[in-house]
């Protein structure tokens, strides 16, 4: 009799623990799912409000570009430099492909490439370099101060790395593409390491907002 009761108690305890385990697992998966959904559906990311802000830079035709021109329009913005062997031309090409893929909807999206190497990336040089890519990509450069200012407001890291002989330098820099909604808030980021389709989906979600 006692044995049976003990056995029943054990069973109850087991069931209870199992239920707790399932609940914990479900909660964890729910949280994970939410984070993923936020990225994919384009809901604002935590801390997104502190990224971005007004800026003034120079376009490749030498005219000035103000962030006020972006008001009410979603945009993709990324940072790089033309003395970059890999990730910058790759990202420029990927963004060109995404624009093409969007077809008519591409009109809704602004794409901005900001040089973090304004000393070497003059408007003329940037213009020539960008001619290999979709002409809807807006190339921007500026004074060292202007570039530092936009880097700070977008929380973009960049630094010069001098070569051994000190005659040359390369740059380390944030490689992500920021997707900003029409209110100017960060919605998600694109990485060159994720599949093309996933990036395309994020861009389309941005336009659907």
């Amino acid at each position: 009799m006692a044995n049976t009761r003990q056995g029943a108690l054990r069973s109850v305890r087991l069931v209870a623990w199992a239920a707790i385990a399932v609940l914990v697992l479900a909660a964890g998966m729910h949280l994970l799912g939410e984070a993923q959904k936020a990225q994919q559906s384009g809901r604002a990311l935590p801390g997104a409000a502190t990224i971005g802000g007004p800026f003034e830079l120079t376009r490749t035709d030498g005219t000035r570009f103000s962030s006020s021109a972006l008001a009410g329009k979603p945009y993709a913005i990324f940072f790089g430099f033309t003395h970059c062997p890999d990730i910058c031309p790759t990202t420029l090409l990927e963004m060109s492909n995404h624009l093409k893929e969007l077809g008519d909807r591409a009109d809704k999206l602004r794409v901005l490439f900001v040089s973090v190497d304004p000393e070497r990336d003059t408007p003329e040089h940037l213009k020539r370099y960008l001619s290999a890519f979709d002409d809807r990509i807006i190339g921007l450069t500026g004074t060292t101060q202007e570039v530092a200012a936009i880097g700070k407001s977008y929380r973009v890291f960049f630094e010069k790395v001098p070569s051994k002989d000190g005659q040359d330098y390369t740059m380390n820099h944030t490689a992500s593409v920021y997707l900003m909604d029409k209110a100017g808030s960060l919605v998600s980021t694109l990485s060159f390491q994720e599949p093309d389709e996933q990036r395309q989906k994020k861009i389309e979600n941005l336009l659907d907002r």
């Binding site: 990730i87 020539r128 001619s131 944030t174």
Partner: protein, 162 residues
């Protein structure tokens, strides 16, 4: 008649050039205990001052070797670089002391990773025009190498973008 002769000469020259053995390219080059294979680079945007070169190196020997330097007529100088991603930040630096190829190992130089960095470009790689160069290893010495040229932004030598 003279025009015809000129054309004939040109055609003959082209035939001859095609028949001459080309330096090994997509195929392999052996230097000491090392096999260097699948060297490629890609078209750069106009006015680009740098380009990346990619290849694989297999060490069939019993001792480690190091890729220490390179040259190419398209570049003012060539360095051996490593690219890494660190919390969304792209970092690139020269590989200090050269890139080690352990005995038995195959090291891949590829986009987003180790690469031969053509710096101070004199002319960007163009499609259909393989790029000549040399690579120097600490033990195996120097070998000539030819880099095939893939399209702009290509992620691998075999096919184009994406």
């Amino acid at each position: 008649m003279i025009r015809l002769d000129l054309h004939t000469t040109l055609a003959l020259a082209a035939l001859l050039a095609a028949a001459l053995p080309l330096p090994a390219s997509a195929s392999e080059v052996r230097v000491g205990d090392l096999i260097v294979a699948n060297a490629w680079t890609r078209v750069t945007p106009p006015g680009a001052r740098v380009a990346g070169g990619f290849l694989t190196i297999t060490n069939t020997g019993k001792a480690a070797d190091r890729l220490v330097s390179g040259t190419s007529p398209i570049a003012g100088h060539v360095e051996i670089h490593e690219m890494t991603m660190d919390g969304g930040v792209m970092k690139m630096r020269e590989v200090a002391g050269g890139l080690e190829i352990a005995p038995g190992a195959t090291v891949e130089l590829k986009p987003g990773s180790y690469h031969v960095m053509f710096m101070d470009l004199k002319s960007g790689p163009m499609e259909g025009k393989p790029v000549a160069g040399t690579l120097t290893f600490e033990k195996a010495g120097t070998t000539a190498i030819t880099f095939e040229v893939a399209p702009l932004g290509a992620k691998s030598p075999a096919h184009g973008m994406n």
